[in-house]
């Protein structure tokens, strides 16, 4: 654990912790709103900010924040305009951001070598001033994503209903993209602008496989995000690789591991099809043929359906329900 004594590693670990906390927190809303690739686009826009900072010799992080937030506002206004051309306009904005950033960095002779620290993350380049700014921005994202959870959840799941109960839907939508833009820049130093979107989406996807309910999955995704970000930074110290790549690979490994578990959990959760009893008069009593050597149960291999207050098992196209020592046709 000697890396803990290195000042740059301490800074990198704190930055990773904050990226791991904030990215899945805003990602939970973005996934619910089916905008999984929004973070990717915002990352591209932020590259223009980094290029601008390198060209003008100013600090890259504040510039990236300003440019990404401005880009986020434009994206949301384009989306709200509802025009068909909005989709193309967004694509132009995203690639325009990437191209501008690379071009500006190249013009001042920084080239892609310097820029790659921002594209894929870097352990060495985080300054103390960066860290303070990252911490401040992370606090804003954390406070909003947790404090406004019911409101943001309502807006992401059913915008029209949210409007009818008097929520300021446009303002909340704008808040979500602005928070996403801030998160992109919070994670820029550790995960890198090209891969930040993965840390927003993949832990949420894994948590959604493993847990039920928005709130539970939200906090589970944050835990997965923190584990992936911190272990990725530690691993990249030993492997001498850009931390962003390792963080994303670890997050995806968690997601892949969650897939078979999700199947098991889903079966256990008894999400059986339901047949509601709407006519209270009982069915005429009709016994099935004798079941020799077979009793129906959760593990019997026959598909089960919930029928009112009991379970029926599908057996050769019939629905069999237990009744005393025999089965009835239902």
């Amino acid at each position: 654990m000697d890396f803990l004594t290195l000042a740059f590693m301490q800074r990198a670990l704190i930055a990773a912790l904050l990226a791991g906390l904030t990215s899945p927190a805003i990602g939970a809303y973005i996934v619910q709103r089916r905008l999984s690739l929004l973070g990717d686009g915002l990352g591209h826009v932020a590259i223009a900010g980094v290029g601008l900072a390198l060209a003008t010799g100013t600090a890259p992080l504040p510039m990236a924040v300003a440019v990404a937030v401005a880009g986020a506002v434009i994206i949301e206004l384009l989306r709200q305009s509802g025009r068909a051309s909005a989709d193309v306009a967004m694509a132009i904005l995203f690639y325009g951001g990437l191209a501008t950033g690379v071009l500006l960095a190249g013009l001042v002779g920084q080239g892609t070598g310097m820029l790659s620290n921002y594209l894929f993350g870097s352990l060495l380049t985080i300054t103390e001033a960066d860290l303070w700014l990252i911490a401040g921005l992370a606090a804003v994202v954390g406070a909003a994503t947790i404090g406004l959870m019911p409101q943001l959840f309502a807006v992401c799941t059913d915008e029209e209903f949210a409007k009818t109960i008097g929520l300021r839907v446009r303002a909340y939508n704008l808040l979500i993209v602005v928070l996403a833009a801030i998160t992109v820049t919070v994670s820029m130093r550790t995960v890198g602008l090209l891969m930040v979107s993965a840390l927003m989406v993949v832990p949420v996807a894994a948590a959604n496989n493993l847990f039920t309910g928005f709130r539970t999955s939200f906090f589970a995704a944050v835990v997965i995000g923190v584990v992936a970000a911190v272990s990725g930074v530690v691993g990249s110290f030993y492997l001498n690789a850009p931390p962003g790549s390792l963080i994303v690979v670890i997050a995806i490994a968690v997601f892949v591991a969650s897939l078979p578990l999700a199947g098991v959990l889903r079966r256990r959760q008894l999400t059986l099809p339901v047949i509601e009893i709407t006519d209270p008069t009982p069915l005429p009593h009709q016994e099935t043929d004798q079941h020799i050597d077979h009793s129906h149960g959760p593990e019997c291999g026959h598909k089960a359906v919930i029928h009112g207050d009991h379970t029926d098992y599908l057996h050769n196209g019939h629905r069999h329900a237990a009744h005393g020592d025999h089965y009835d046709e239902h």
């Binding site: 619910q32 019911p150 799941t157 059913d158 209903f161 109960i165 309910g213 509601e276």
Partner: protein, 254 residues
């Protein structure tokens, strides 16, 4: 300042709504009183969904007036008094429990950055009880049957202590038995004092419970008053009516 409780819950006067330059609703004047259970009917494209969306403030109107609970719509802010139940097909909630979906209905009375209060929890539990889904509170919404999802959306609207429920085609895509149980639920809520406005393609299971019907055709009101005796004259599709008739006959032969 309004001192007496006005009798009208929804009143429109010569309402005009245009979408993309085309008039969708013309000269629509309706008056829904407290305690009514009104069906808003009409064929496809008659403007019934546009009318409820306009009443809810989701679509602007180009002419005429709307009053909600006696207040002109521009000055109306008590949105918690109105509970909107959208068509189930338009709601796509992936990762949420039933209780979480119902809890969003409380946001009309909750402030941002506030914690879920005891009264919020009590009201959510009560709303789930009213739709008989208390045992499903912690199940994923997406795994429920169509009729159950519709009932969750009704509970969400009730959670804000709505006095007026507006439902958009609650019977769409649910089978006849479930339609009957939803009708019973709406009738029960109406008896307890909730005013109900329900957009319907056909009256079906609700017929005996309706106090009023408004029928639209090509954006105009063509009937106001008693529920039409033969609602099927007002629209073109009647396979479902035949199905219901058949169901009724089979039901009686038992």
């Amino acid at each position: 300042m309004q001192v007496t409780q006005p009798d009208s819950v929804i009143r429109t006067e010569s309402l005009l709504v245009e979408l993309g330059g085309l008039p969708i609703l013309r000269e629509v004047s309706i008056d829904i009183k407290r305690g009514d259970l009104t069906a808003l009917m009409g064929g496809n494209g008659s403007g019934k969904t546009t009318l409820v969306r306009t009443l809810l403030g989701l679509i602007p109107h180009q002419g005429g007036q709307i009053e909600l609970f006696g207040t002109p719509d521009n000055d109306f802010h008590e949105w918690n008094r109105i509970g909107y139940v959208p068509q189930r097909g338009t709601v796509n909630i992936k990762q949420a429990t039933v209780a979480e979906v119902v809890a969003t209905g409380r946001l009309s009375v909750r402030r941002p950055f506030s914690l879920t209060s005891k009264s919020d929890r009590r009201r959510i539990a009560q709303a789930l009880e009213q739709v008989e889904l208390s045992d499903r509170a912690h199940r994923p919404f997406a795994h429920l049957s169509g009729g159950q999802q519709q009932r969750v959306l009704i509970a969400r609207a009730l959670a804000g202590e709505a006095e007026l429920l507006i439902l958009d085609e609650p019977f769409a895509g649910v089978d006849l038995g479930v339609q009957d149980s939803l009708a019973t639920l709406l009738g029960g809520l109406n008896r307890q004092g909730t005013t109900v406005l329900v957009v319907l393609h056909e009256t079906g299971a609700l017929t005996p419970l309706l106090t009023n019907a408004i029928v639209l055709r090509e954006g105009r009101v063509i009937h106001v008053g008693a529920p039409p005796a033969e609602p099927d004259h007002y629209h073109e599709r009647d396979e479902r009516a035949e199905e219901r008739l058949l169901h009724g006959l089979i039901g009686e032969s038992h």
